[in-house]
Symmetry: D2
Subunit: 324 residues, 4 copies
C-alpha cells in the first residue's frame, strides 16, 4: 500500500512511497501562503504557511497525499482501510474533514509540538470533497526534525501516538505495529554468534545472517518491520547527495515491484512514486516507478506569497544517460 | 555479497549487484575483437568476440566482474567463499585460470550451448594475476536469451547446473539454493485464502499477505529466495525503458542498504553498483549506490575491431534533475 | 508461561499447561457445595456449585489456578504480566479480588452466558490474600461446551472478548493475539501447491510442508498460534480415551521442555503440569513433567454436599509399566 | 514422517518417533543371540549380539524399524523417499539388502567405531523381503554413547556422515539438514537483547522470545531444526526416571498430532509410537499415540541365549490412573 519514513542527517528528510494499482494523476504542487483554503466547516483559511507536496488537483484544490511546509513540518496520509473512521460534525470541536487535514495542519503549525495542540481540538469529519469522490480511509504521520507522531481517527475517537521509529505503513493500527517490532529484537546488522548450541559447530556462511527472520513480503506489517530495521540502522554521509540518496535506499527496501502483489485478477499494486522532502531546504525530490533518476522541485525558487497553486507534472519515463 | 539475475521481454537482459565494503576501482570496459588476451596456459587469444562489462583494469588487462559479448552471452562471477576450489594445471585439459574465465568463455562462445561444450574440457586453475593479487573465490552464472547455467569449481571438481530461475547469489552451493526454494512453494503474489481453519474468521488486513514468509534479510540464501520470487513473478512492458526499469526494480529487491550489514566493526557492505546489460543491443546500463539515475554505454557505438581497451569511469554522485 | 485450551468431541474438555521455573505446591482440589468462601468485600458465599481443579491451598482456602464446576463451566487464570491491572474497591460494583475470581464465577454460574451477566457488574480488586502473598498478574479464559471468552482487567477497565479459537496464552492482550493469527491464514495441514512460480519445478520433498511458517518457539505469541493451529485442525475419535488422549496431544504441542527457556542464569521454565477436565463428567485429568501417565480425579465420587475441601497430591515420578 | 534422537545422562538413550498414517502391526521384539538370520547374499548369521527393538514380524523374521543391541549400539531406519537408492549385488562387497541392514550391524558391532569398519565393505542391495513387500526407502542413524553417524545409500553410493547433533528426520539428505542449522545460529534459550536498534525501546513481553524463528511445522526439515534445538539445550537429572522422562519430552517437541498433517484426502499422518532405549540397561521404553504412559520391556529379563524371537504387543489405549 504505502510506506512513509523520516530521516535525519544535517537536514531533516521526510518522504513516502505511494503503492497502488493505478494513479489518480498527481503532481508536485506548491501552495503559496495566500492561496485561500475554503474549509467545509471552519471558514476560509486566508493565509498560512506555504507547503510543497504531491497532490491531485481537483477544482483548483490541492488534495495532498504528502507535503512539507516552509517550517519543515511534514505530513503524509496512508491507507488505513477498515480501521479509519471519520465522524459527523461535533459542535465545539475544530471540524476538519479528511481531505483538509494535511493543509490545515501544515498551514497552521511550525512543529509537531504545535500540531499536538491543534490535534487536541480537532474532529476529523466525513464530508467528501464532492459527491463523486468518496473519502479515502487514511491515517497520518506528522513529523519534524525533533519528533514524529501518528494520528488515527478510529471508532473510539482520535488516537495520537508518539512514533519513535519515524515509520508508517498501513494496517494494523499503530500500537499493534509498534508492539510487533518486539518480536524482532534479536535481529541485528551484525554477524550472528552461535547461540543455538555450544555442542554444535555452526557457521556464518554468508554476511548479513544477523537479520535472518526479517520479513521480506509486501504486507503492511512486514514493510513496517523492514523499514524500521533499515531506517534505524541506516548510515550515510551528511551531504545533500548522500542523504537524499540514502533516503531513497531506505524506501527502496519496501518498494513494491510490478508483479509481486496481485490485487485482483491481473491487476497489480506497485510503487507509483517515492518522495523525499528536505524539510530544511523546502525541496521535494521524487522518483517514479519508471524513472529511477531523482527529480526535485524547490519551493523557495517560487513566489511563496502568491495565491495561485504552482504544479509540476511528474517525469515518467526512464531518463537514461548514454555516455557514448 | 552479490546477486545476479536474467530477464527476458522482447530483448534479453542480464545484470548483477556488486555488494562489498569497498570498491577496487572498476570501470565500464569494452574489449574489442582484436585486443590480445595473453592466457597463462593457453597461449594468446588473438581475436575473439567483443565484450562489454564491469572490470578493474590492471596492467592493461580487463579483470571482468561481469560482462556480455556481442552475441548476447552474459557471464558474471559472484563470491563463493569457502566453497570455491581452483586446481593445479592438468595436462590434457584446457587450463584457464580464474581471472581468465569470463573473457575466455565470452571470447569464444556465442551461446550457453557453446559454452557447455568448452566447459567440458576446462580446468579452472589457481594461478593469480600477479603476486600481489590473491584470487577471489567465485562461482559463475552464464546466460543467454534461451537458458542459464551455474558453474562451480569445488573440491569435487567442476559442477555445471542448469539454472532455471536465472538467479545467482553466493553460498551455499547452487544445488542447496535451488532445494531451499521448495520451502517457499506456498508463497504467492496473490491474496491468501484462509487455509488455517474454517472454524476461524481470519482476515486479509493488507494487500501482499500471500507472500508472508518471504525472507527479507541480506544473507545470500535469503537474497536468492527473494530475487527468485520477484524475478519469476515480475511483469513489465516490452519497451527498452520499461524492461530496463523493471530489471533495476528486480535487483532493487535485494539491494544492500548502507548500515544493514556490518562486516567488521564499523565497516558495512552495501550495493556498490547494479548493472543491467541488454544482450541483444550490447548496451551496459548501471546505477551506483549514490547515483540512482541509470547510465548506459553502448558497445556498438565503439570500434569493435580495435585492439585497445575502451573504458568509461562510473558516474558516482546523484544526478538530480531540479525542475525549477 | 502457560497455555489453556478447550476441546469438544462428545463431551467438553478444558485444560491448560502451567509453565514456570518452580512449583508453589499445588494439589487437585475439590471444593464441595457448602465450603464457605469468605469474600473480602462481598460477604460469605455459603453455598455454590461444587468445583474441581488445581489449587494451592493456603489457610484452608483453595487458590485455584484452573477449575471446572459441576455444571461444566471451566475457568483458568494465566500470567498477564505488565498488562494486568487490578483496581481499588468501587462502590456499587461487585468487588471481587483477583484470587476470588475463579471460585466466585464457578460458584455462581452454570454457563458462559451466566458468567457474562455477572462480569457486567464485577470490579476486580487488588486485595492480596495476605500480606506475604503478592497478587499474580493474570487474565482468564472462561468456557463451556458452547463458547469461550477471555477476561482481561487492564488500565482501561475490564475487557471481555469472545474467544472463538478457545485458546489462551499470555501477553500480548487477547485482541493482539487474535489479530496476529491473520498472518498465518496461508498455513494448512494439507500439502502445499506450487504458488511461488509456474516457471519453476518446486517439489514437496516432505509431508507437512503446508504449515511451513508456523512458529516453533516458546514465546506466548508463538504458543498461541501453534495451539490455535493444532486445536482447530485436531481430529480424534469421540470416546473418553481418544478425546482425553488427543487433548494432551494438543497441549503437548506447546509444552515447554526443560532447558529451552532460560529465565535467569541457570533457571528454566518448563511445563510443571498439564490438565484436562471433562466438563460433562467432572473428571480432572493431569500429567506432570516427570509423569507421562495420565492421572484422574472424579469429583462425582466425592461427597459434594460437604463443607470440607478434598485434595489429592500430584503423582510426580514416571509411572513406568515394565512388561517383563 | 519420523524423528530419531540420542540423549546422554548417566546412561545412553536412543529412540525415535514413527509417524505414518497407519500401522503395519509392530511389536517390541527381542532377537536372542542364537536366532538364525538367513541373509539373502551373505549366508546364515548363526550367532550375533542380542537386540531389542520395534519390529514387524513376518514369516518369523524381525523387520526392525529401530533397535539397540546388548552392547548399547542403537540403529533406526527413517523414511528417505526419493533419495534412497539401493543397488544390485556387487561381487567383492558385503551385499546386505535393506531389511537386513539393522540386524546385520547390530548383530556384529559393539560400537559405532566397529560399524564404520563394516560399512566400508557394505553394498546395500535392493532385494525385497518377498514378492509382496516393496522395500521402504530409508536412511539410518547408528549411535552409541560416544558418537552418532548417518548412513545414506543414494545414487552416488553410500554416504557416511558424522552426526554431531544426534538427530535424524527425513528428506533432504543429511548434509543439507546440517547446513540448514546454520540459519538458526542466532536462536537461543536465553532471553533476547535488543539488537534491532538502540534507538528503539523494544521489550521482552514474554519469556522464551530468544528462540523466535524456530520452525513449528511438521515438515522433516523443520522437525530436524526443532529436535536439534530441544535436544542440544535439554537439561535433566541423571536418574532413570528423569532421563527417560526428558527423552520423551525431547521427542514430544516433534510429535505429529492427529489432524495436522493431511497426506491424502481425509488421511492423516501422526506419531504412531515413540521409543526410548536405555542402551546401557537394555530396556526399550515406548508410548503409543493413545497411551501416554511409558511402557518398558527389559531384554535382560529374557533368555538371550535362545534362538526364538520374543515379542510383546503394544499397549494401545490410555492407561489412566483414577485416584478415587
Amino acid at each position: 500500500m504505502c510506506t512513509a519514513a523520516t530521516y535525519k542527517t544535517k537536514d531533516f528528510y521526510f518522504g513516502r512511497t505511494l503503492d497502488y494499482e493505478f494513479s489518480y494523476g498527481e503532481e508536485i504542487t506548491i501552495t503559496p501562503r495566500n492561496y485561500k483554503f475554503n474549509l467545509k466547516n471552519m471558514g476560509i483559511m486566508e493565509t498560512h504557511y506555504a507547503m510543497i507536496g504531491m497532490a491531485h488537483i481537483a477544482e483548483n484544490y490541492p488534495l495532498y497525499y504528502d507535503a512539507i511546509n516552509e517550517k519543515g513540518l511534514g505530513m503524509a496520509g496512508l491507507n488505513f482501510v477498515g480501521n479509519a473512521d471519520y465522524k459527523e460534525v461535533i459542535d465545539g470541536k475544530d471540524n476538519i474533514t479528511q481531505f483538509e487535514f494535511i493543509p490545515y495542519i501544515l498551514g497552521k503549525c511550525a512543529s509537531v509540538k504545535e500540531a499536538r495542540v491543534l490535534l487536541g481540538k480537532i474532529n476529523i469529519t466525513n464530508i467528501p470533497f464532492n459527491e463523486k469522490m468518496t473519502l479515502a480511509q487514511l491515517h497520518w504521520i506528522i513529523a519534524d526534525k525533533n519528533e514524529a507522531i501518528t494520528v488515527e481517527s478510529i471508532k473510539d475517537g482520535i488516537k495520537i501516538y508518539d512514533n519513535p521509529v519515524g515509520v508508517l505503513t498501513n494496517n494494523p493500527p499503530f500500537d499493534k505495529q509498534m508492539f510487533n517490532l518486539n518480536n524482532y529484537m534479536n535481529l541485528s546488522p551484525k554477524s550472528p554468534k552461535n547461540n543455538f548450541s555450544d555442542k554444535l559447530n555452526l557457521n556464518m556462511y554468508s554476511r548479513g545472517m544477523g537479520a535472518i527472520g526479517l520479513p521480506g513480503d509486501l504486507s503492511s506489517q512486514s514493510r513496517f518491520v523492514r523499514a524500521a530495521f533499515v531506517k534505524t540502522n541506516s548510515l550515510s554521509g551528511e551531504t545533500e547527495s548522500e542523504s537524499v540518496s540514502q533516503f531513497f535506499h531506505i524506501l527502496g527496501a519496501v518498494e513494491q515491484q510490478k508483479g509481486c502483489c496481485e490485487v485482483t485478477d491481473g491487476k497489480f499494486e506497485y510503487t507509483i512514486y517515492t518522495s523525499c522532502c528536505n524539510g530544511d531546504k523546502g525541496i521535494y525530490y521524487y522518483t517514479t516507478y519508471e524513472n529511477h533518476q531523482i527529480t526535485g522541485v524547490d519551493m523557495n525558487k517560487e513566489n511563496l506569497n502568491s495565491d495561485i497553486l504552482i504544479s509540476y507534472p511528474l517525469i515518467q519515463g526512464e531518463q537514461i544517460k548514454i555516455r557514448n
